[in-house]
């Protein structure tokens, strides 16, 4: 960086407002769709793991191994199959969410008090109806705690996708390095953090709306 160059040139942000908004939209899509897909996979998988405990350790081991693989390497493995597309970023990000979401679905189901389960059975609920209408709603706070962690880390990981040309706001990070100009990098970092924190706040709100009965209690994250 040349001397006398400020950390942030505000006029640059003003000049690029429209473009920044576009990339922000792309970033949200790349970061949040994987969390949605991850949830769609994790809920049935978590129910399976809760019902048949022996399924849980191998599923957890595979999820943890996937999580430990650095994103850059995982993207490259998928480039061969899905090319330099958004899928190549979203598939690995989806796989990463499993290591948080599956354990939280299992823990959430385990948090259902046994008397509640028995009461539901006594009222004539079949297994499927009991899981869907009684156990899953009670598991919601723990599941959402996992969704919050998954969403925040997914949004911040999207930027790495820029190395295969699909990084949402990560575009400004590589651009800033090429131009030796810090403003776009700082702007991208701040916007990504704001997206993550806003998503987190919305999820807390969603949890309050979905589980009105838990409002009186303090739920720790």
């Amino acid at each position: 960086m040349s001397d006398g160059e400020p950390l942030v040139r505000w006029d640059w942000i003003g000049d690029h407002a429209g473009e920044l908004a576009d990339y922000t939209g792309v970033h949200l899509r790349l970061g949040l769709l994987p969390v949605l897909f991850g949830l769609i996979v994790s809920v049935p998988l978590g129910i399976l793991c809760h019902r048949w405990r022996w399924v849980y350790p191998p599923v957890l081991t595979v999820a943890n191994i996937l999580y430990s693989i650095p994103s850059l390497a995982l993207f490259m493995i998928f480039v061969r199959y899905t090319g330099l597309t958004e899928q190549t970023v979203m598939i690995p990000l989806t796989l990463y969410t499993l290591s948080v979401l599956v354990p939280n679905v299992v823990d959430g189901l385990a948090s259902v008090p046994e008397p509640v389960r028995q009461a539901a059975t006594a009222m004539g609920f079949g297994t499927v109806r009991r899981v869907v209408q009684v156990e899953l709603p009670i598991a919601v706070p723990v599941v959402i705690a996992g969704v919050r962690v998954a969403a925040v880390s997914s949004i911040s990981l999207v930027a790495v996708g820029q190395l295969i040309g699909q990084g949402g706001l990560g575009y400004y990070i590589t651009r800033g390095l090429q131009l030796d100009f810090p403003t776009p990098i700082v702007t991208a970092i701040v916007l990504i953090m704001l997206l993550a924190l806003a998503t987190d706040a919305l999820l807390v709100l969603a949890q309050r709306l979905l589980t009105p009965w838990s409002r009186s209690k303090v739920t720790s994250s």
């Binding site: 850059l72 990981l157 999207v158 930027a159 390095l177 810090p182 990098i185 991208a188 987190d200």
Partner: protein, 224 residues
């Protein structure tokens, strides 16, 4: 299936060709760089994160501040931070290491804190009752009981450091990410996938090391 076999053959060819194993751009040199960055950052982060986590967990003061800082830190895009550090401080190892340390502290800190705070108060009171000093309570009761969570924090930090050290090749640092970044810019897929394979193997080794460590150091009474 055929394609998978081809890919494996490509990786095999790359890994076994002798030029990969010699000189400044060979796998041993890159692996050494990668392990140096990751090991040093993890060591410093562990010193700071463990000390702070034990302090806050034991005294109970500053819990809210710790939780807020950790939440905020989780939202930082690591790739952006590393690139910003290089843009501001120029391409040298120390600033990048500082960034890696900063990224590795939060998971160690929060898990150590949660681990110590979660110790059964009855066990803590009993330890004081038999005449242990505060230091003894911390080192002989709280730390052993918090070990599973402390190790989890260290494992998450190690995974993150290894991954971010890979990405740090983009602004020009060494390490295993070099293969991937150079391969991408030269359109050399063999280099990209070969480098990725070495990174994956390193990640698996880290994961296995922490699982083994947990088996060895965690008290049998605490195993689930």
């Amino acid at each position: 299936m055929n394609d998978l076999l081809n890919q494996l053959r490509l990786i095999g060819d790359w890994l076994t060709s002798s030029q990969q194993w010699h000189g400044d751009e060979g796998i041993p040199q890159r692996l050494l760089e990668h392990l140096t960055y990751s090991g040093l950052s993890l060591l410093f982060a562990a010193l700071i994160g463990l000390a702070l986590g034990l302090l806050v967990g034991h005294t109970g003061r500053g819990a809210f501040a710790v939780a807020s800082v950790v939440n905020l830190a989780r939202a930082i895009p690591t790739f952006g931070l590393v690139v910003l550090v290089v843009t501001l401080a120029g391409l040298s190892t120390t600033p990048v290491l500082v960034a890696l340390v900063a990224l590795a502290i939060p998971p160690i800190l929060i898990n150590t804190f949660e681990g110590v705070r979660g110790v059964d108060p009855a066990a803590r009171d009993a330890a004081r009752g038999v005449g242990m000093t505060e230091w003894q309570v911390l080192l002989r009761v709280e730390v052993p009981m918090a070990l599973p969570l402390i190790l989890l924090g260290l494992r998450i930090a190690a995974i993150q450091v290894v991954a971010t050290a890979t990405v740090a090749a983009y602004p020009g640092l060494g390490g295993l990410g070099r293969f991937i970044v150079d391969g991408l810019s030269r359109n050399d897929y063999e280099l990209v996938i070969g480098g990725s394979t070495v990174v994956v193997v390193l990640a698996l080794v880290v994961q296995i090391l922490f699982t083994a460590l947990r088996r060895v150091v965690v008290s049998p009474g605490l195993r689930v």
